[in-house]
């Protein structure tokens, strides 16, 4: 059970890298991981001799299915020049790479290693949308597929339960999407870099060029209510409630706390981490919360001694818009049934009280599932060090940030808290 367990030895991130996220016909998993690793090497302020890396953990959900190649550990060890060092692949669906970091942290905390590379990769876009949908559905509970549930369908059912319980509506989900797209143009590595308004104008221009009737939407929500712009996927989930299919890779360098300052004057310390498991929809105690989130959050808060109000910003797993609302309630940033109101009031925008998904989130940045958890950490690393460029959270001194990563339909959830000292 969740308690106040501490790790025996502190761990810090001293380097991070992330590839561009997107759909790349001309790049494969190795190209993408090499891109992320190259950036990591350059990001270590005082330099890193890669030969000092002792072991690797790599998260990957299902390249087996997506590109028909399994056993990604040794491929990554070879690619980075680190073979024959130990490499381990972790799988927790869309939370795979957070599990890689967690294992790396525990390996350092145990005294087994001092310097570990942890990351993730996924290459999804070589498959058709139907095939990717089928591949992702492998991570739902077996009982759900038999009932015709899809991945978006599970989140659609959660959204209807949330609406029914709290009186929220589709418009509140749109606030999440519009907010994420406001951050999108500011992330040079993101898959989508346009605001909803940009996309509306592009659609109008296309209609003009084709001589078709030009839509007369007055604002973002009017466009998002128009099924020709935003068709239903699994009611009430529409196209703009869903993250895209993506390719990408990400990695971080984890080192024992006592070594951190030899790599940088500005390390980011891991002060709490937690992980929980969840069950199929039939066994969920609640449809407006993930029990795995609650478990992960209790562990991470207990370990760090921090409270939700101590966390200044977070990256959360917005695979679907409704998930963002549920997560920020489960993590205690907002009360139960309060998140949709807070988002409507702008509290989760970059300049708001509790910025959420400054990267643009999975919705805009992209979601190469095995790379997502560490890509969230990359954003926190950038923000805490004041290196997030145009999307830097304005007007405050940042020292505590967090990432929440979800696998499947809540079967695996993690929560990790980082501190800049």
């Amino acid at each position: 059970m969740a308690g106040k367990r501490k790790i025996g030895r502190g761990v810090a991130i001293v380097g991070a890298g992330m590839s561009r996220f997107g759909m790349f016909q001309d790049k494969d998993s190795k190209d993408l991981f090499a891109e992320a690793f190259r950036e990591l090497l350059e990001s270590v302020d005082k330099g890193l001799d890669p030969r000092d890396i002792q072991a690797i953990w790599i998260g990957n959900f299902s390249n087996d299915f997506f590109v028909h190649q399994a056993h990604w550990g040794p491929i990554i060890a070879d690619l980075t020049g680190l073979a024959p060092r130990a490499v381990t692949r972790t799988e927790g669906a869309c939370a795979s790479s957070t599990l890689a970091v967690r294992d790396g942290i525990m390996a350092i905390a145990s005294g087994m290693y001092d310097i570990v590379l942890a990351g993730g990769v996924e290459e999804m876009s070589k498959r058709t949308t139907e095939e990717v949908t089928e591949g992702l559905a492998l991570a739902t509970s077996p009982y759900e597929g038999a009932a015709g549930f899809t991945f978006p369908g599970v989140f659609g059912a959660l959204a209807n339960a949330y609406f029914h319980k709290y009186g929220a509506s589709r418009e509140h989900l749109m606030n999440v999407t519009i907010k994420s797209h406001e951050n999108a143009p500011l992330n040079p590595k993101g898959q989508f870099r346009q605001t909803i308004r940009d996309l509306m104008e592009a659609r109008k221009e296309k209609a003009r060029q084709k001589g078709l009737p030009v839509p007369d939407w007055s604002d973002e929500k009017e466009a998002l209510f128009d099924p020709s712009f935003n068709p239903p996927v699994a009611w009430p989930m529409h196209l703009f409630d869903c993250c895209p299919i993506s390719d990408g890779a990400s990695c971080v360098l984890l080192v024992a706390e006592e070594l951190a300052k030899s790599f940088t004057d500005d390390p980011i310390y891991v002060v709490g981490f937690g992980q929980g498991s969840g069950r199929g929809l039939h066994a969920c105690p609640s449809f407006t919360s993930f029990e795995a989130n609650r478990q992960a959050a209790a562990e991470a808060y207990g370990m760090s001694g921090l409270k939700p109000e101590d966390v200044q910003f977070a990256e959360v797993h917005d695979c679907f818009s409704i998930a963002e609302l549920i997560h920020i309630e489960d993590l205690g940033f907002f009360g139960e049934g309060e998140a949709y109101k807070a988002v409507a009031e702008g509290e989760t925008r970059r300049e708001g009280r509790m910025p959420i998904n400054t990267s643009g989130g999975l919705k805009c940045k992209g979601h190469p599932v095995g790379a997502t958890g560490v890509a969230q950490m990359y954003e926190v690393w950038k923000q805490l060090r004041g290196e997030a460029g145009e999307r830097q959270i304005p007007g405050r001194d940042l020292y505590i940030g967090a990432t929440q990563n979800l696998g499947g339909t809540g079967g695996t959830c993690t929560f990790t808290i980082f501190e800049r000292r």
């Binding site: 549930f149 369908g153 059912a157 239903p232 009611w235």
Partner: protein, 138 residues
């Protein structure tokens, strides 16, 4: 009581026969659906079959417009969505199943909390014939 082992395979055989079966813990009496091998309350390991009445209420639902291949085979798609959801049975456990007899093209007309009843639908022919569980407004 039935002699079949407690398993998903046995459960599906019962569905083929038009029976909705859960498992009941011999230690503490808790009823589970789908059947569980082990009790998560008392950690008892002895389970027996327990037939469920198939009556309950709709707890939540979704209407699927972008459909998986096996539902497309039944003729569902963007223009012909279907409803699926979670039903809470009168005995307590929940069931994930298709919801029929509702207007899936008009999802907002479907009411959480409405009473529903299990039906067993036969589809396909020959080797592909199978029975699936669904719920309809009671």
């Amino acid at each position: 009581m039935e002699e079949r082992p407690i398993s998903d395979i046995s459960y599906r055989k019962f569905i083929e026969e038009g029976k909705l079966m859960g498992s009941r813990c011999r230690g503490c009496g808790k009823i589970y659906h789908p059947p569980r091998h082990l009790c998560e309350d008392c950690f008892g390991t002895e389970m027996e079959w327990h037939e469920l009445k198939g009556e309950g209420e709709l707890t939540t639902y979704t209407c699927i417009f972008v459909v998986p291949p096996y539902m497309a085979e039944e003729g569902y798609g963007r223009e012909n969505p279907y409803c699926t959801g979670v039903v809470t049975l009168s005995e307590g456990p929940r069931v994930v199943a298709r919801i029929e007899g509702v207007d899936a093209k008009n999802p907002e007309s479907i009411r959480i909390g409405m009473p529903v009843k299990a039906v067993f639908n036969r589809v396909g022919e020959g080797e592909k014939a199978r029975t699936y569980l669904a719920f309809r407004p009671a």
